[in-house]
């Protein structure tokens, strides 16, 4: 999943293109102020197929009221098929469009667990994992009162193949589903797609290769119900038909979204959502300083206001004294400096970059707060991923140690004089924080005997330039977030040799090693889910220890603030967003 889309000029998150999903827990090497970050445990990997509906409304919840959400971000699109950013997915899945499965916050473990949604359970795979069957609940209705049919879910699945008409959504369906490589969606292809079979209330999805993570994938808004008769691919996003507790009242793309109660929603069919407030007011593209000031001062309507933006360094210390209004946690994404393997062929130079990188100075320059919005780490898989192995790719490197002497020694071994090896990297020259981050990197690299050449770009064009395989960059600053908490949503997506040379540079390191590709195929084709998870962990260690194609620049953290009367707000550690589904206004 992609990270919430950063606004054009602000937000250091602009460094990241792809993101989201996965568990969260673990690494408690953080400051004492952020205890909640270390809490958690099984993370999103935890499933509960028997979660009971309805979800109890907390006793301190007042009836009614409207929650206001202010954010600097602007969601790209709210079409359920196209939603792949953390913000659009959270808003749609938690409030408006129900899917086959859903993530729900577990108060006891302080993390998300996968529970059934429109389906009665988490799906039943065939013995070879090549067919998954979901059974729809009784009594599901759209906002207009018409019943939800299994055929509508099947249509939504078909719709997700229409990448030409509805781009930007997740594309696991094309990789795993039957005929996924051939079927082009219901708009172009009027023939019957054989991958989805409907029988009564049962929906069976057929695969072309074993797919063990279908239950996680079924939680995406792509697996909602869309009645074919009401669909118009161009305009559906202006009012997607609600199956959840709230429906669209007014949507102005780029500026605001107003949700009101969906009276057709029946709590007895939903184990993960409540309908405590009358409505939601989302205001997008707001000024960060202003919205933080409003929420921190907590006057009048600000008491029922919240944001899902990470709190800035300037406001963090103000709100840190009022911890009840600060929600922290993880959003398991890993920021990385991808070293281009075709340009930096010597492993010693790559390791030297790992020692030269000014981790802490860079984070501070970007305005990130260490241990809160950035967590040091070395494994590519973030904490909370099943089978994750904690290791040190460079002996003694804990993810935040900068040692110019070691870097110089490695460079000398590799035969480079100080200032001889040139590192070229892109930065957005119109983003003040990105410029500060760049300054720190230049200082760090030069202190370690590299020649640093920052390449100026703009917030608007940096993603395209970074994805240009012919561009001059030696390293590419980007990242990845899991779509579900196993290595299977990580390595095949970025580290497969077959991705080298593809449009958009999905493999930012140009990493193509025969032994690692063989390893990946072995895990994907022969191992069971239980064996695959630890195998991915070992793959992670081998990749970084043997080749060091990427510098881990920290995992992302979440620190969101809210008004004093906002209840039930916790961190959805699958997306790094508030747990909208169970939020209310306190008495």
């Amino acid at each position: 999943m992609r990270m919430k889309k950063p606004a054009v000029v602000l937000s250091a998150a602009a460094l990241m293109t792809l993101a989201a999903c996965g568990g969260g827990s673990g690494n408690s090497s953080t400051s004492s102020e952020t205890k909640s970050l270390g809490a958690g445990g099984g993370a999103g990997a935890f499933k509960n197929a028997t979660a009971k509906a309805p979800l109890a409304v907390p006793s301190d919840a007042a009836k009614g009221g409207t929650l206001t959400v202010l954010t600097n971000q602007v969601p790209a699109t709210l079409d359920p098929t196209r939603a792949y950013f953390t913000d659009s997915t959270a808003i749609m899945s938690d409030l408006v469009t129900r899917s086959l499965t859903q993530y729900s916050y577990n108060e006891k473990t302080n993390d998300m667990q996968l529970i059934p949604d429109m389906a009665t359970d988490l799906g039943r795979p065939s013995s070879d994992n090549k067919a998954w069957t979901f059974t729809l609940r009784q009594g599901l209705k759209y906002e207009d009162g018409t019943p939800v049919k299994a055929a509508d879910v099947a249509y939504a699945v078909k719709r997700s193949f229409a990448i030409a008409e509805l781009p930007d959504g997740p594309t696991y369906n094309t990789t795993f589903f039957l005929d996924g490589d051939k079927y082009k969606g219901p708009f172009k292809d009027k023939s019957n797609y054989p991958g989805v079979v409907v029988k009564g209330n049962d929906i069976t999805i057929k695969m072309r290769r074993p797919f063990t993570d279908m239950d996680y994938y079924a939680s995406f808004p792509q697996f909602t119900a869309i009645p074919q008769a009401k669909d118009d691919p161009q305009n559906y996003e202006s009012h997607p038909l609600a199956t959840g507790p709230y429906k669209f009242a007014d949507y102005k793309p780029g500026s605001s979204l107003t949700l009101v109660k969906n009276t057709s929603w029946d709590p007895k069919t939903d184990p993960g959502r409540i309908q405590a407030v009358d409505g939601w007011n989302f205001k997008f593209g707001q000024d960060t300083a202003k919205l933080e000031n409003v929420i921190i001062n907590d006057n009048g309507s600000a008491q029922t206001t919240l944001t899902y933006d990470n709190v800035s360094a300037s406001s963090f210390r103000q709100i840190a004294s009022d911890k009840a209004r600060l929600v922290t946690g993880t959003s398991p994404c890993t920021y990385m400096w991808f070293i281009d393997m075709t340009k930096v062929k010597d492993i010693r130079v790559r390791r030297a970059i790992g020692w030269a990188f000014p981790y802490e100075a860079y984070w501070k320059g970007l305005g990130e707060i260490e241990g809160v919005t950035r967590v040091p780490g070395t494994s590519i898989l973030p904490p909370g991923t099943a089978g994750r192995v904690q290791y040190q790719a460079l002996p003694g490197q804990d993810g935040k140690t900068t040692d110019p002497a070691k870097a110089k020694a490695l460079l000398k071994q590799a035969g480079y004089k100080p200032g001889q090896f040139e590192i070229k990297f892109l930065f957005a020259s119109d983003d003040a924080q990105a410029v500060e981050g760049k300054n720190q990197i230049v200082k760090g690299l030069e202190a370690a005997g590299f020649k640093a050449t920052p390449l100026a770009s703009t917030s608007e064009t940096i993603r395209d330039q970074r994805a240009d395989a012919k561009g001059p960059s030696t390293v590419r600053s980007s990242g990845w977030c899991s779509d579900w908490p196993t290595g299977g949503s990580w390595f095949p997506a970025q580290w497969a040799g077959s991705l080298v040379g593809l449009e958009g540079m999905p493999n930012p390191s140009n990493f193509k090693e025969a032994d690692m590709d063989a390893d990946q195929n072995r895990i994907l084709d022969t191992l069971s889910p239980a064996q695959a998870a630890p195998a991915w962990g070992q793959f992670d260690r081998k990749l970084e220890t043997k080749y060091y194609p990427a510098v881990n620049v920290g995992y992302s953290g979440t620190a969101m603030i809210h008004g004093s009367k906002v209840g039930g707000m916790a961190n959805d550690n699958v997306r790094g967003m508030p747990t909208f589904a169970r939020m209310y206004i306190t008495k």
Partner: protein, 333 residues
């Protein structure tokens, strides 16, 4: 009819030289009169002192930073900032320290005073160069348009109209990414070219009003007797323009300069705030941009550059007003 010199008695001539009255009513040029008026204006003098102070700061920025023992971009965020990215010494949490008289910046730990000194330098350099260039263009174009009749005047007027109709901010916004992508691979030259581009944008959009003003003045002057006399005796056009007409235009030009300077200071800060001005060179606008989020938690960080801009612009504006009053013969005090 004048008196022939031969008709004057030798006595008379001698006497006039010695008359005490003569020296008291000594001829003074309009400029001298204006300067005398300025000297009598207390506000003008105060503003002049402030401006001179800023000029001194700008010129001697490197020396001053050394004098205070601070350095530009020398912060080490890891050792000088706490876990929430706030300074470990100086404001806002600790008292005044000579180590950093204006404190250090959060997130980067760069020294604020050094940044401020060099910011003054950027502001004044940009304002001065842009004023000089735009004034030169404005005067030359205005003289040409006013003195030439027919097609040249019309062509020049057309260009003035074109430039007046171009939206300044939009052109600046459009130019910034073009320059960034053109010089993307040469970071050192990029800073240079961004600076030059800023000057070019400011100059190109600053000359039109002056050109129109000068043209109007020239239109009224060129039919006056002294100009016609010069033409009759065959003085070349260039000489008429620069020796006969230009001195008479001194007042409007000086007024335009004195009002243009503060406008350029604000424009520079404004563009830097929008992220399309100079990048990589310290400037008040950029510091304000970074400091806005800290207005509550670290006010000094924001106030220093704001006070700089306000003081300089106010002093330049008041001085400009005083200069205009002094040069305007209709002003009575």
């Amino acid at each position: 009819m004048g008196i022939q010199p031969t008709e004057l008695s030798e006595n008379d001539v001698d006497q006039t030289d010695e008359l005490p009255v003569k020296s008291a009513v000594a001829g003074r040029s309009p400029t001298q009169i204006a300067l005398a008026r300025l000297r009598a204006d207390k506000i003008a003098i105060a503003c002049f002192v402030v401006v001179v102070l800023f000029v001194v700061i700008a010129v001697f920025a490197p020396l001053l930073t050394k004098l205070f023992g601070v350095e530009l971009n020398a912060g080490d965020p890891v050792t000088q900032l706490d876990s929430t990215n706030f300074p470990l010494y100086g404001p806002p949490d600790f008292g005044f320290t000579w180590k950093a008289p204006l404190g250090i910046a959060p997130n980067t730990a760069d020294d604020n005073l050094a940044e401020w000194f060099y910011g003054a330098r950027t502001s004044l350099a940009v304002a001065t160069i842009a004023t000089v260039v735009s004034t030169a263009i404005g005067v030359v174009v205005g003289l040409l348009a006013g003195f030439s009749t027919g097609w040249l005047d019309r062509v020049i007027n057309f260009f003035i109209d074109v430039f007046l109709s171009l939206p300044f901010i939009l052109v600046a916004l459009a130019l910034a990414p073009i320059i960034v992508s053109r010089f993307s691979a040469q970071p050192a030259r990029l800073e240079e070219y961004q600076f030059i581009a800023l000057l070019a944008v400011l100059s190109l959009f600053g000359w039109m009003t002056l050109a129109r003003l000068v043209r109007g003045e020239v239109l009224s002057l060129r039919e006056r007797e002294f100009v016609q006399a010069a033409r009759v005796i065959g003085v070349p056009t260039r000489r008429i323009l620069f020796k006969e007409l230009l001195p008479n235009l001194l007042a409007p030009i000086i007024v335009s300069i004195s009002l243009g300077l503060p406008a350029f200071v604000t424009a520079e800060a404004g563009l830097a705030y929008l992220g399309i001005g100079v990048v990589g060179i310290p400037s008040w606008g950029q510091t304000i941009n970074k400091a806005v989020n800290f207005f509550d938690t670290y006010p000094l960080y924001l106030y220093a550059p704001v006070v700089g801009v306000v003081l300089l612009v106010m002093a330049l504006n008041l001085l400009g007003d005083a200069v205009r009053d002094a040069f305007d013969p209709k002003t009575r005090r």
